[in-house]
């Protein structure tokens, strides 16, 4: 019986691979299903980022006249820079905010059907990822209209996101399990993500902070990803590979630890739901 829920890193990868069809189906259902029954359908998913980006551009270039401190840029760049960081953060925040209620919201999957519960965070991630891709398309559209072709390094974005994805998964597994036992987790998480939004260099470049404060921001796992995203999307800079490698390794450990925690504690789910 003990071998039923593997906790090894291999088990983590195998669970994803074995259930890839189901994950794909559920992601599709969730991403597209959100707009089920509405007249505009999938167009709504484009509408939101489009509107937000327009508003940001207006507010920050016309109202606040904000600048990114990189000198000599056009006013619209602030909104695009801001939005690129925000896309990354939204991916993180959407997953993390949903994590504590993933199991709670699917009691049937725990008690009534034989279901690989550990894939639920993957499904949430997939759906958040879908929204990020939509935002990215909108962002690219703006970029092309204003600046022309984006830098080649933009193709590296998927690699830059690898550590983020792994960290999100690890935290999601942990929070999904904790959320079952401690209902407070949902509230704690929403407070933390709101605060984190301002402790991540989204609205400002890291360099804008006093040098004494800068190292502290590296404790925030999002800092590196946000900075590197801007590097590849806008600044035509290669990511700092050693940092990236270290980060991938660390986030893999986080993912595995979260997975192991989830698998160890899931036996109790049915008892308290």
């Amino acid at each position: 019986m003990t071998a039923r829920f593997p906790t090894s890193p291999r088990g983590m990868v195998a669970s994803f691979w074995d259930n890839r069809n189901l994950i794909g189906l559920l992601v599709k259902r969730e991403a597209v299903g959100r707009y089920q029954g509405s007249v505009l359908g999938l167009l709504w998913s484009f509408f939101h980022p489009l509107l937000m980006l327009t508003v940001y551009t207006f507010v920050f270039s016309m109202v606040f006249k904000a600048r990114w401190n990189v000198g000599g840029e056009s006013r619209t760049v602030y909104a695009l820079v801001l939005f690129s960081g925000l896309m990354v953060f939204s991916l993180f925040a959407e997953c993390i905010n949903r994590a504590p209620s993933l199991i709670l919201g699917n009691v049937n999957y725990v008690k009534k059907v034989v279901f690989p519960l550990e894939i639920l965070p993957w499904v949430a991630l997939g759906s958040a990822f879908f929204h990020m891709v939509v935002s990215l398309i909108v962002w690219m559209g703006f970029y092309v209209v204003i600046f022309g072709a984006p830098p080649v390094t933009a193709l590296l974005l998927p690699l830059v996101l690898v550590p983020l994805v792994l960290t999100v998964m690890g935290l999601s597994w942990l929070l999904a399990s904790l959320g079952v036992y401690l209902r407070d987790v949902t509230h704690i998480v929403s407070v933390v993500t709101s605060v984190l939004m301002f402790l991540t260099p989204i609205f400002y470049p890291l360099a804008a902070l006093p040098e004494s404060v800068q190292p502290w921001l590296y404790f925030n796992p999002l800092t590196v990803v946000v900075e590197q995203t801007r590097d590849v999307l806008i600044l035509n800079k290669m990511p700092h590979w050693p940092v990236w490698g270290l980060f991938v390794a660390a986030s893999f450990v986080i993912a595995w630890a979260g997975f192991a925690w989830f698998q160890r504690t899931r036996r109790g789910f049915a008892d308290v739901l």
Partner: protein, 396 residues
């Protein structure tokens, strides 16, 4: 380990630990046995069961007997407290009506997802989709959200998916109860064809007739323990007899002790059931009786009442209707007789008998036994209703 075993359950126990707060459950897993935060409830105790490949096993029991818990443990949605469960083969489980369904989505979507949950690949699902919809008879509604479905439609769709994923083991929990007769027949036909194909089937139902018809074996669970495992008709009739309110243990020898009230007029000195009290429909139930007058009595009539063990009065007849009277008796005199019910036409169950002696015009009761005489009826074939009435069937 032989390969023809599909399910092996060994000394399975499940304790539900009821926690005051969910967080106590987490503390318990972290602190292990250093403190207890729970109260125990044993849903299953030391259940052992071996199901061979191709067997059809029915599970009987009252509400709360542990039937669903057993099925959940076999499916793996529940972690047993003690004991082991081995399952060999691809399982398709219908634990609750459309539990994997999302009410907001269309039938089509839900079929895809629940088939994928049951382990089917997308191309397999596509290949079988039409057969599933046809079986469920929902072609017109398949693109409607399932929240608009009736419970019968829900069941049809859920059942259709569960049986079309080519399971090696099918587990069904009380699902057949909601369908109409036509769909039930369809399900039974499908189950029969799956049986013929060698699928192992395990199901819970309160419908004893289905059980008697389909199963190769029946498990009777009572308060988390296995009360009996065996031949479907015998086990389900024993279960039924107890369900309707039997107080003693089934199969105990017929009671001969006389409990009666003293009327001052007469007393039964003997009421005896011939044989061991285990009868089959069509047998002769024979009861010998003797009553002794305590004072001078006029001509006597006797009566018999038979109650089913749940208190339902099924027979109440006197010798008066048949025109049989016993002559008047002086004080101390004994009047004897015999009652024969032949052929015995009562449906399987446990019964209690009372016999009375009355005055000729039935206005005075001279003596009356309590319901102290017991007998049981068991049939070798499935039966329904309360009586096996003598009936002639004429084919034309």
């Amino acid at each position: 380990m032989s390969s023809d075993v599909a399910i092996r359950v060994c000394d399975l126990s499940k304790t539900y630990l009821t926690y005051q707060k969910p967080r106590d459950r987490l503390l318990q897993s972290l602190l292990r046995h250093r403190r207890t935060f729970y109260r125990e409830f044993w849903a299953l105790r030391d259940v052992s069961l071996e199901v061979k490949r191709g067997e059809v096993v029915g599970i009987l029991g009252r509400n709360g007997a542990g039937k669903s818990t057993l099925l959940q443990a076999i499916c793996g949605t529940l972690t047993p407290t003690r004991g082991t469960v081995e399952v060999h083969g691809r399982v398709s489980a219908l634990l609750e009506l459309g539990a994997g369904f999302n009410p907001e989505f269309s039938g089509r979507e839900n079929v895809r997802v629940s088939a994928a949950i049951l382990g089917m690949r997308p191309e397999e699902i596509a290949a079988r989709f039409d057969a599933i919809v046809a079986f469920a008879e929902l072609a017109e509604f398949i693109d409607q959200p399932v929240k608009t479905y009736s419970s019968g439609m829900y069941l049809r769709l859920a059942f259709a998916v569960a049986v079309h994923v080519d399971p090696e083991i099918l587990i069904v929990d009380e699902a057949l109860a909601v369908g109409d007769l036509a769909f039930r027949n369809k399900c039974l036909e499908k189950i029969r064809s799956m049986m013929a194909a060698g699928v192992t089937i395990l199901f819970v139902t309160h419908d004893i007739s289905t059980l008697q018809l389909l199963c190769t074996r029946v498990v009777w669970l009572d308060q988390g323990r296995v009360r009996a495992i065996g031949e479907p008709i015998r086990v389900s009739q024993d279960y039924y007899a107890e369900l309707v309110g039997h107080k003693g243990t089934p199969g105990e020898p017929a009671q001969t002790m006389l409990i009666q009230q003293d009327t001052g007029k007469a007393l039964f000195t003997e009421v005896r059931l011939q044989g061991n009290g285990q009868l089959r429909p069509g047998d002769t139930l024979s009861i010998a009786f003797a009553v002794q007058a305590k004072e001078a009595l006029g001509p006597l009539v006797f009566n018999i009442s038979i109650y089913r063990a749940d208190g339902d009065w099924v027979v109440g007849q006197t010798s008066r209707e048949a025109g049989i009277y016993w002559p008047a008796a002086a004080a101390g005199e004994v009047r004897k007789g015999r009652i024969e019910l032949a052929p015995l036409s009562l449906a399987p169950g446990d019964y209690l008998v009372a016999i009375g002696a009355c005055s000729e015009d039935y206005s005075l009761c001279y003596a009356l036994t309590d319901l102290s005489l017991k007998f049981s009826v068991r049939a070798a074939y499935p039966t329904w209703g309360k009586f096996i009435h003598p009936i002639r069937w004429i084919a034309e």
